[in-house]
């Protein structure tokens, strides 16, 4: 079956799956942590921030993508830990601005929201350091915008 839209439950499942994947691999991310302070806690911080976002998502009872992503944005803001957690919460905030109030989202909206997420994350720093998660977010957003028109099946 070809799906062109993501509804609230699918978005929720995707976020939960990404949390589980992050939590499973947090040791690898910890080992990558060299900037700004090489204390090796990036993976743990990100995983705890995501956990807080997921906890907030679970309170949402409506099948509404915008409500889900808003809950994630709020949850990650409340539970932000460490530099990476703060950046992650800004990415969620930008994504939720991009999604706006749409109940279901398609490939174009996902791409625009990803672009918006990276813009929001960049705005909160005077002198962005390239080669960090910010670069990844920006490149992902740009690539998503490039390919979004040719995507038929979003699953």
């Amino acid at each position: 079956m070809i799906n062109t839209l993501i509804d609230g439950w699918k978005l929720k499942a995707a976020l939960e799956a990404s949390y589980n994947y992050l939590d499973k691999n947090k040791e690898i991310v910890n080992a990558l942590n060299v900037f700004p302070v090489p204390d090796g806690d990036t993976g743990t911080n990100m995983s705890l921030t995501m956990r807080s976002a997921i906890n907030n998502i679970e309170k949402v009872t409506e099948n509404d993508a915008s409500k889900i992503i808003q809950a994630a944005s709020q949850g990650s803001l409340m539970g932000a830990r460490g530099n990476s957690g703060v950046i992650l919460s800004q990415l969620f905030r930008g994504f939720s601005i991009g999604v706006n109030d749409k109940k279901e989202i398609d490939a174009q909206i996902v791409a625009l929201a990803m672009k918006k997420a990276s813009e929001t994350a960049y705005k909160a720093v005077m002198k962005p350091t390239e080669g960090t998660i910010l670069t990844i977010a920006r490149e992902c957003g740009e690539y998503a915008l490039e390919i979004c028109n040719s995507v038929k099946d979003i699953n």
Partner: protein
Amino acid sequence: MPLIIKNEIGSIFIEDTVIQEIVGLSVIESYGVVDKASKDSFEGIFSFFGFDPSYKGIKVTINDNDVDVDIYLILEYGVKISTVCQNIIERVKYNLKYYTGINIGDINIFVQGIRTESDL
């Protein structure tokens, strides 16, 4: 008053402006910081005329065997202020220790303002 590190063959003098600049550079690279605020009216007048040195908003107090730092900042709206400040403190502490090897006392952060979308 410069910071003095003595060893058996001589002394090293580090001016407090050097410490201010190291702190200033680590602060503007930190996530969530959009500007530094003026620490006194003198700097406020300077900055009004477009003169923004890299040590703006940083106050360094050199004690007998450690250094205290006060930082005056403006943050982005929508970040968790307590976490961002904690990150800045950790980063400044690490960078100062890394570049100068001095003992660090207190690092205090004064959040003087928040920049919202409508300010842009």
